[in-house]
C-alpha cells in the first residue's frame, strides 16, 4: 500500500475509535504455516461487532482488502496478509469488557437450540446446549469458564488457543469430532459482518445448512463476530469411559497392521467422543517429568530400545463403548487399560506437547491431515513413514475419526536455514512416500500448508468458495488474494524454496 493511503486508512480507523497499529509487525508476517506474503503494513484490532462494521464500511469505500486473523495458530496460511491489505486481528471481538479490556476469565452465556438463555446448573446431560461467545474467544478459556459446571466445548482442536472464529474459518477438527463432527457442525447460529457494494452488512445465520456450507471459508466471506458453539457435558466417572490401548514392537509394519485393524474394529462397533493417538519414544517428556513416576501412566513412557510404541486413547459414553474391552481382547499384543478422565487429560497434554512448541526449535509443517481411509492400510503407511523419517526429530500424532485414521507429522528443526531446508525436504519425501491412492491416503488439504487448498486444491472446491464469496462479499474486500489466479502462484502449497 502506498504510504499516504496507509496513513489515511490508519487515521480513518483511529477517527472511528478502532485501535490499530502501523509499526513493527514482523511477528504478524506469518502464522503456523510458514507462508509469508510480506510484512503487513497495518493491523486493526476491533473490539466488537460495531467496530467490525465500521471497518468493513471503510474497506469497501476505500477499496482496501482486509484479512481476518485469529490467534494465528493455523497451518492453512489464510491468516497471512499481503502488504497492501489491512490485517484484522479478531481476538478482541466479543471478548472485551466495556473498557475494551480483553480478559481471560468470563462468565459464559449458555443458550439452547432456539437461542434462549439456559441455566447450566439445571441442565441435563442430554440437553442440546450452546455457549454464545465472541469470535475472539478460545476453546481453552471457554473450557476454563465452563469447567466448574462440568461442561466443555464439544469440538476442540489440538491447539486449544485458536479462536472460535478461526476454528470456523478452517472448519477445524479435533477432540469431539467423532461424535459432533468438524467445527462447522457444532455451530448453531452465528453473526457475521459481510459486504455489499455500499458497505458493511450484518447477517445473523441460524440455518444449519447455510452454516455448514460457510464453515471452512478461510476468511473469504466476512468477519464472523459471534457464534453459538455446541457444548457437551463432562460425564461423571460412572458414565464416561476412558481407555488407553498401547503396543510396542520393533516391527513398525506389524504395529501398524495390528493397530490399524484394531481401529477398524473399533470404528465398526463403538461410538466415541475422541480417539487420539501418539507415538512415544524415550525423549517425549523430560527425564524429571512427574508423569514418569506415575504409578499408572509411568509405564507407557518406558520403551525398550529399538521399539516403537503407539498409544491410542479413547473417550466416550460407557454404553456406546461397551464393545471396546472385548475388541481389545482380540488383539493380545495390545495392552488395554481403563483410565480416569484426569489420566486421559494428562496423556493428551503429552500429545499436545509432542506436536506443539519446543523451545528454540520450529515445527516445520508439511504433513498435515493425511487421512488413511482404510485403517487396514495403516501398517503400510507406518512402515514407509518411519523408514523416511529415520533419525529425524518430531513425533507423529493422529486422530481416529469415523472416516479414517488421520496422521500429522511436523519435523522439528533448529532455527537455521539448513535445518529448516532439511525439514522441508523431509516433508516432501514423506509426501512422496505416503500420499498414495493405493494406500488409500489423501491429503484433506483444508489445512494444507502454504494455502495448498488455493494453489493445488480441487477446482470444485475453488468453485464452491467462489460461489460463497459471490454471495456474501459483493465488494470483494475479504481476502481477495486467495482466489486471485495471479497471486496463487506465490503460495507455497506443497512446494518450497528458500
Amino acid at each position: 500500500m502506498k504510504v499516504d493511503e496507509l496513513r489515511t486508512i490508519a487515521r480513518l480507523l483511529r477517527d472511528a475509535g478502532i485501535q490499530c497499529d502501523g509499526g513493527e509487525l514482523r511477528g504478524y508476517a506469518t502464522d503456523a504455516s510458514f507462508l509469508t506474503l510480506g510484512v503487513p503494513s497495518l493491523i486493526a484490532f476491533p473490539k466488537d461487532e460495531a467496530e467490525c462494521v465500521k471497518l468493513v464500511d471503510l474497506a469497501v469505500q476505500r477499496h482496501v482488502a482486509i484479512v481476518p486473523r485469529g490467534t494465528g495458530s493455523g497451518t492453512a496460511g489464510a491468516a497471512v496478509a499481503p502488504p497492501d491489505a489491512v490485517l484484522v486481528d479478531m481476538e478482541r471481538v466479543g471478548a472485551c469488557d466495556a473498557r475494551g479490556h480483553r480478559r481471560g476469565l468470563f462468565v459464559p452465556q449458555v443458550v439452547n437450540a432456539n437461542g434462549e438463555p439456559v441455566d447450566l446448573a439445571a441442565a441435563g446431560p442430554e440437553d442440546e446446549l450452546y455457549v454464545r461467545v465472541g469470535a475472539g474467544r478460545t476453546s481453552d478459556e471457554t473450557n476454563r469458564a465452563l469447567s466448574k459446571s462440568g461442561w466443555t466445548v464439544a469440538v476442540t482442536p489440538s491447539s486449544g488457543y485458536s479462536t472460535f472464529g478461526g476454528n470456523f474459518a478452517t472448519n477445524a477438527r479435533g477432540s469431539g469430532t467423532p461424535e459432533y463432527g468438524p467445527f462447522g457442525e457444532a455451530v448453531n447460529r452465528l453473526r457475521m459482518v459481510v459486504s455489499s457494494e455500499e458497505g458493511a452488512r450484518v447477517l445473523e445465520l441460524s440455518n444449519r445448512e447455510e452454516i455448514r456450507r460457510l464453515a471452512g471459508h478461510h476468511g473469504l466471506c466476512g468477519l464472523v463476530t459471534e457464534l453459538d458453539v455446541r457444548i457437551a457435558p463432562v460425564l461423571g466417572a460412572d458414565e464416561m469411559h476412558c481407555a488407553v490401548l498401547s503396543m510396542d514392537t520393533a516391527d513398525a509394519a506389524h504395529l501398524g497392521v495390528t493397530m490399524g485393524n484394531l481401529m477398524k474394529r473399533v470404528a465398526g462397533s463403538c461410538r466415541y467422543y475422541a480417539g487420539e493417538f501418539l507415538f512415544i519414544d524415550a525423549g517425549i517428556v523430560r527425564p524429571d517429568d512427574p508423569i514418569r513416576a506415575d504409578s499408572v501412566l509411568g509405564g507407557y513412557f518406558r520403551v525398550p530400545a529399538g521399539h516403537r510404541k503407539m498409544v491410542l486413547l479413547y473417550r466416550g459414553r460407557k454404553d456406546r463403548m461397551a464393545a471396546l474391552p472385548t475388541i481389545a481382547r482380540e488383539f493380545p499384543e495390545v495392552e488395554y487399560r481403563e483410565i480416569t478422565f484426569p489420566q486421559f487429560r494428562a496423556m493428551m497434554r503429552v500429545r499436545t506437547a509432542a506436536t506443539g512448541k519446543a523451545l528454540r526449535r520450529v515445527n516445520v509443517p508439511g504433513c498435515e491431515d493425511f487421512i488413511i481411509k482404510d485403517p487396514a492400510r495403516f501398517g503400510d503407511v507406518l512402515t514407509r513413514m518411519f523408514a523416511t523419517m529415520a533419525g529425524a526429530d518430531g513425533r507423529p500424532v493422529g486422530h481416529h475419526y469415523p472416516d479414517g485414521v488421520e496422521v500429522h507429522y511436523r519435523p522439528q528443526a533448529p532455527v537455521t536455514k539448513g535445518g529448516i531446508e532439511d525439514a522441508w525436504n523431509l516433508n516432501l519425501r514423506l509426501r512422496e512416500a505416503v500420499l498414495r491412492p493405493e494406500l488409500t491416503v489423501e491429503d484433506r488439504r483444508e489445512h494444507g500448508l502454504g494455502l495448498a487448498l488455493f494453489k493445488d486444491g480441487p477446482a470444485s472446491r475453488h468453485e464452491e468458495l467462489r460461489r460463497l464469496k459471490a454471495r456474501y462479499d459483493h465488494a470483494n474486500v475479504f481476502c481477495p488474494h486467495l482466489l486471485d489466479p495471479k497471486l496463487q502462484g506465490r503460495f507455497i502449497g506443497t512446494q518450497f524454496a528458500l
Binding site: Q19, L35, T36, S73, G160, K357, V415, I420, K486, L498
Partner: protein, 394 residues
C-alpha cells in the same frame, strides 16, 4: 509471476540472509505474536504505546539489549500477560532478566521512584556489620521472643512509616502479634532480619538480593524455627519461591502468609473470631500472593470467617485481579494514577472498604487517595486483612 515467497528468505536487519528473526520470536520463547498479553496489560490500557508483544518481538529482532528504558521499567511485573498467554511466555521473568543485564549500564542507578528510598534501604541491610533495633514499633501488651518455633518475618515494616506517613504499616505488625499471642504463639521478631530482597531482585540488582537472601536464610535456618510467617505478600513470595533457588530448599521450615496461618489456627480451633465486624468489604488479590504464588483462597476463608462482615467480590479477581499500579517501587508515574483510579472505582462499586493482604498494595492505594487524584476520588477506605482479623478477636 511465480516467484515463491517464503518466510525464511527475508533478510535479517544485519543484512545477512538466512532465517528471519521473526521466526525466532515464534520459537525462542514460544511467542506466537497473538497480542493477548497486550490486551490484558493494565499499563497498556493507559499508555497504548506500551505493548509486551512488541517488546518480545523487538527483543528478538534488534536484540534484547535494545529494549528502551521506558519499556524496561514501566512493566509492573504483575503477570496478567503470562496468565492469558497461550504459550505461557514468562514475560515478567524476561523483564527481570533484562533489568539484571542492562541495569549496570543505565543512567538511572536507583530505580526506586520514591527518591531511591527502598533501594538504598535494601543496600544498607545488605551490609554485614548492620546492627538493627527492629522492635521499637511493637509497643506494650504484645509478647515476642528471641527464640521459638514461629518467626514473624517483618521485612521492611520497621522502616515504612518513617517515609510513607499516610499509612500505619506497623499497625499490621501489631495486629499480627496480637493474633498470634491470642492463639498461644509468641513469635520471634529478630534483629538479625534483613530486607527480603524483593525489590532488588525484580529491579535487576542480583548482588544485593543474593547477599540479603543468604544472610536471611542462614539465621532463619540456624534459629531452629519451624514456621516462618509474614504479613507481606512480597516477602512471602520471595521466601517461598525465590530463596530456595539461591539458598537451597528450606529444611524443616514452613513458609506461611499470615492469611494461611490464621486459616489454619481457625480450623484447629486455636483462634476464634468473637467480635462482629460490621463492614462491607471487597478483597484485592496482591500480585505476589495471587498470580505469583497462586494463593487465592486463604485470605477469602479468613474474611468469610469474620462475623458480621459482608464480603463482595470485585469483577476482576484471583488470576484476573488488577495490580495496584506499582511493581517493586520502580514505576510510579502518571499512568499509575489512572490505573489506581480504575481499580479503586471498581472496588468502591462493591464495598466501602477494600481489604489488602500486602502492605505495599495498601501504601500505593493510600498514596493515591492521599494525593491528587485524576478523577473524583472513590469513597473507599483501605484496610489490611490482618488488622481486620485482629479487630474480630474481641
Amino acid at each position: 509471476m511465480t516467484e515463491t515467497v517464503s518466510l525464511v528468505a527475508v533478510a535479517a536487519p544485519s543484512g545477512r540472509t538466512g532465517v528471519d528473526p521473526a521466526l525466532h520470536v515464534l520459537t525462542a520463547e514460544g511467542c506466537i505474536q497473538c497480542n493477548k498479553c497486550t490486551f490484558s496489560c493494565p499499563v497498556h490500557r493507559v499508555d497504548v504505546l506500551f505493548s509486551p508483544r512488541k517488546v518480545i518481538l523487538q527483543a528478538y529482532l534488534g536484540g534484547a539489549d535494545d529494549v528502551n528504558e521506558r519499556d524496561l521499567w514501566a512493566c509492573l511485573t504483575c503477570g496478567e500477560c503470562q496468565a492469558v498467554c497461550p504459550t505461557q511466555v514468562p514475560y515478567p521473568g524476561f523483564i527481570r532478566a533484562q533489568r539484571e543485564k542492562l541495569r549496570p549500564g543505565l543512567d538511572r542507578a536507583a530505580p526506586c521512584k520514591h527518591g531511591g528510598f527502598k533501594d538504598i534501604l535494601a543496600k544498607i541491610m545488605a551490609k554485614p556489620g548492620l546492627n538493627q533495633d527492629r522492635r521499637a514499633w511493637i509497643g506494650d501488651g504484645l509478647r515476642v521472643a528471641d527464640k521459638g518455633d514461629v518467626i514473624y518475618f517483618t521485612g521492611c515494616m520497621p522502616y515504612l512509616d518513617g517515609i510513607f506517613s499516610y499509612c500505619d504499616s506497623a499497625g499490621i505488625g501489631r495486629a499480627a502479634i496480637k493474633i498470634m499471642n491470642a492463639a498461644g504463639i509468641v513469635p520471634v521478631v529478630a534483629n538479625a532480619e534483613r530486607c527480603c530482597g524483593h525489590d532488588a531482585l525484580w529491579n535487576g540488582d542480583r548482588t544485593t538480593f543474593e547477599t540479603l537472601a543468604r544472610a536471611n536464610a542462614r539465621w532463619i535456618q540456624e534459629s531452629g524455627a519451624k514456621r516462618l510467617v509474614t504479613t507481606c505478600a512480597e516477602c512471602y513470595y520471595m521466601l517461598k519461591h525465590e530463596y530456595p533457588k539461591v539458598a537451597g530448599d528450606w529444611d524443616g521450615v514452613e513458609v506461611l502468609h499470615m492469611s494461611e496461618l490464621i486459616e489454619g489456627l481457625l480450623k484447629e480451633g486455636r483462634l476464634k473470631f468473637a467480635r462482629p465486624v460490621d463492614l462491607q468489604v471487597t478483597y484485592q488479590d496482591p500480585c505476589r500472593l495471587g498470580r505469583h504464588s497462586k494463593e487465592y483462597d486463604a485470605p477469602r476463608e479468613v474474611l468469610k470467617a469474620i462475623p458480621g462482615l459482608t464480603f463482595v467480590e470485585m469483577d476482576r479477581v484471583r488470576e484476573n485481579s488488577m495490580c495496584c499500579g506499582v511493581g517493586a517501587y520502580s514505576n510510579c508515574d502518571a499512568a499509575t494514577k489512572f490505573m489506581q483510579q480504575e481499580r479503586l472505582e471498581e472496588a468502591a462499586s462493591k464495598a466501602d472498604h477494600m481489604v489488602t493482604a500486602c502492605p505495599h498494595c495498601r501504601i500505593h492505594f493510600s498514596c493515591y487517595l492521599d494525593g491528587r487524584p485524576v478523577d473524583p476520588l472513590p469513597d473507599l477506605k483501605i484496610v489490611d486483612l490482618t488488622e481486620l482479623a485482629a479487630q474480630a478477636l474481641g
